[in-house]
């Protein structure tokens, strides 16, 4: 398993208990760094993560202002990432955290590193997908530009009203006779 003492520290597997509260600016910035690193790692270059920030902030607010509160998980993840960056430097730290973290089995949540991966990184990945990023995975590489008629709809992606000018999906076009 990657990391040092912080990462390897043992924890119970369930969500860490915490009272709901507003995150500090520093905490939000630290978590945003993780979210952006996800976009960078998987080359989310068509939609820059900045375009997803409002969705991500809404997600973060809903997770921290009411129970069950994720505040303790977010604080834990920030400390885990801080240690990883100290050990590996930023780029390699995130690469290891996302791709090569050595958490085996993946569903074992008995360390601070496993908590950070499961409760924070994995959920941020889902948010990256549903908030509209990563369309270029399923758009032909030779035609990667975003156009209203080239939209792709993931579960959760809010494309706008279907009565809008922008179609929420790639529609079928009848072959011309």
């Amino acid at each position: 398993m990657i990391g040092g003492e912080v990462c390897k520290q043992q924890l119970a597997s369930q969500l860490l208990p915490a009272e709901p509260r507003e995150l500090t600016r520093a905490e939000i910035d630290g978590l945003w760094r993780i979210f952006v690193a996800i976009g960078t790692m998987w080359q989310n270059t068509v939609h820059d993560s900045a375009g997803l920030k409002s969705s991500w902030l809404e997600f973060l607010t809903s997770k921290t202002r009411i129970q069950p509160s994720y505040v303790a998980e977010y604080v834990n993840a920030l400390e885990v990432v801080e240690e990883l960056i100290k050990i590996y430097k930023e780029t390699e730290a995130f690469e290891k955290l996302f791709l090569d973290n050595g958490i085996i089995p993946a569903d074992s949540l008995d360390t601070r590193l496993a908590h950070a991966k499961h409760f924070v990184v994995d959920e941020f990945i889902r948010v990256q997908i549903v908030a509209g990023g990563f369309k270029n995975f399923i758009r032909p590489q030779q035609n990667p530009e975003i156009r209203p008629d080239n939209i792709v709809n993931y579960n959760g992606f809010i494309a706008g009203s279907r009565f809008n000018r922008i179609k929420p999906v790639r529609p079928y076009e009848e072959p011309s006779k």
């Binding site: 996800i38 790692m41 998987w42 080359q43 809404e58 997600f59 809903s62 997770k63 009411i66 996302f98 791709l99 090569d100 973290n101 993946a106 990184v121 994995d122 959920e123 990945i125 889902r126 948010v127 990256q128 997908i129 549903v130 990563f134 995975f137 399923i138 758009r139 032909p140 792709v152 709809n153 993931y154 579960n155 959760g156 992606f157 809010i158 494309a159 706008g160 009203s161 279907r162 009565f163 179609k167 929420p168 999906v169 790639r170 529609p171 079928y172 076009e173 072959p175």
Partner: protein
């Protein structure tokens, strides 16, 4: 004896909430009691929605049946978990919104095939109520798909039966990945159609319909929210987590009182009403009638002919999958529901074999990109997966025909809701498999025409029997030797007890029953309002 309420409605799903709505629209001061066994789950809640999106955990998972709630004791195992939700608003909360009408031949199944039941009225009687139901549910569909009155849909290659009013809203589009199946349909003489779907205009196609962040699909819970917040409806009372355990007969024909568990004290309480309407679904209605034994009704209310709970049906689910080596177009399923369907094999001609309603599965083609990212696959590996083998699936509901021995009855003990467990005795008839395989062959032809490989051992599947569309357990009939309720849904032998749920449908056609249930419910409300002194 004076009553506490004009109406007692047991159950708060689509039937119960619709009846309350229509009664109160006509008489805002009507004293109505609604009793619901399940809890209230907040809807349109952003936290719940995000939790569902990132963890695939529906906020109402706790309201579904658990293993052991409904023991299956027949030759064919019957699975109930996931089929319904016991909660404020009922099962419409997890409903997909598919809104097809039954066809004229569905009202004459027994006459046409010698199996199942006939309705005590025909399609033409229900047609105006279908129009109202479509408006009420906000159904989006394609008018071009409907037949002309007097001409069977199949004669003109139309999918839907005749209609006297257009769909309230235009259909959802077919998606690019539907294209190859549309072309195969056309080559094989199968008429492609657009799935009629209940969605309000505010639908933003998030693909999270099982818990919509905007409330863009009808759910009984939204209707109840509106009713309970309307200041005019001062005499409407709703009590949740209050299972009804028995109906009490004042005489043979008058059912006067309901007994329910008070959620605050856990004690049995009673309420009396001029009319009692059981909107408790096809599982609970027969059991409540069976539980209500008295000197007037020794075998339970409405059960003098031992028909309560019998003729249970649901839809066998058929599917044929196929695989291609490459997904060069990088197709994924972009809606969370199918938009391509066909009713070509859902006609009178196929009734004897068991009609099928075809739909392109909304599960394929698909790649859960986030899952691969979470598993630590890098960009290039995921690209290979996205463009790798592609799967497609054609699915179908097959019509089931009611059999006398297939019965829902009282099981031992109670569920966590305080309701008796359901003992389910069900068996397919001996020729079922042969008929289902014949239908699978028709479906396989489509997949092969699309150029996909079909593994005969694994890709052609007759699904396990489940309870999603359970119907017919208190079916309508012309008289008490044929059914439990009459054409107005009144229990035979009573003056004031009604059943309104899929339980009353004598057939379940080959399509989802919810639109038909709403049509039947609206017909009942007209009857109730006409009966009002």
């Amino acid at each position: 004896m004076s009553n506490d309420y004009a109406y007692i409605i047991v159950g708060s799903g689509v039937a119960g909430s619709t009846i309350a709505t229509k009664l109160l629209e006509k008489d805002p001061g009507a004293p109505i009691l609604m009793l619901e066994a399940g809890p209230q789950i907040p809807m349109k809640d952003r936290r719940y929605w995000w939790d569902y999106v990132v963890n695939n955990r529906k906020p109402y998972d706790q309201c579904e049946d658990r293993d052991g709630d409904n023991p299956s004791v027949g030759m064919t195992p019957w699975h109930s978990t996931g089929s319904r939700t016991m909660m404020y608003g009922g099962s419409t909360v997890h409903w997909g919104g598919w809104s097809m009408r039954f066809k004229p031949e569905d009202f004459y199944l027994k006459s046409n095939t010698g199996r199942g039941g006939d309705w005590p009225y025909n399609y033409d009687t229900l047609e105006p109520y279908y129009c109202r139901a479509e408006e009420y549910l906000s159904v989006c569909g394609d008018d071009k798909d409907s037949a002309t009155r007097g001409i069977p849909a199949s004669a003109k290659n139309k999918n839907d039966p005749w209609r006297s009013k257009p769909y309230p809203l235009p259909p959802y589009p077919w998606t690019e990945s539907d294209g190859e199946m549309i072309e195969a349909f056309k080559t094989l003489g199968i008429t492609p159609g657009r799935m009629p779907l209940a969605r309000y205009r505010k639908c933003m196609a998030t693909g999270t319909c099982k818990y919509c962040p905007f409330g863009a699909r009808f759910a009984g819970s939204y209707i109840l929210d509106d009713l309970l917040s309307e200041p005019k409806y001062t005499n409407l009372t709703f009590i949740g987590v209050a299972p009804v355990t028995r109906l009490v007969a004042e005489s043979k024909s008058r059912i006067h009182t309901v007994e329910y568990i008070d959620p605050t004290t856990g004690e049995t309480k009673t309420a009396s009403g001029d009319r009692i309407i059981l909107c408790t679904g096809a599982y609970e209605a027969p059991k409540l009638l069976m539980l209500s034994v008295s000197p007037y009704w020794e075998n339970g209310i409405g059960n003098d002919y031992d028909l309560v709970g019998r003729f249970a049906i649901s839809h066998p689910f058929l599917s044929v999958a196929g695989t291609k080596d490459k997904n060069e177009e990088r197709w994924i399923q972009e809606f969370d529901f199918p938009t391509l369907m066909s009713r070509t094999y859902d006609t009178e001609e196929y009734q004897q074999n068991g009609k099928i309603f075809l739909m392109k599965s909304a599960m394929f083609p698909n790649v859960d990109i986030a899952k691969h990212m979470i598993a630590g696959k890098d960009r290039h590996e995921i690209d290979r997966i996205v463009t790798g083998p592609r799967q497609v699936q054609l699915s179908a509901f097959m019509e089931e025909m009611g059999q006398y021995d297939n019965r829902f009855s009282l099981g031992e003990g109670t569920t966590r809701w305080g309701l008796p467990r359901t003992k389910i005795r069900f068996a397919h008839p001996p020729d079922f498999r042969k008929r289902a395989e014949k239908n699978l062959d028709l479906m396989e032809e489509v997949i092969r025409k699309m150029g996909y490989t079909v593994d005969k051992n694994n890709d052609k599947v007759i699904g396990e029997q489940d309870g999603h569309h359970t119907s017919s357990t208190c079916r309508m009939g012309k008289d008490p030797t044929e059914g439990v309720v009459d054409a107005n849904l009144k229990v035979f032998g009573t003056d004031n007890l009604y059943v309104c749920s899929n339980a009353v449908h004598p057939t379940c056609a080959a399509v989802n029953p919810t639109l038909t249930l709403v049509a039947v419910t609206l017909k009942l409300t007209d009857h109730l309002l006409a009966q009002k002194p």
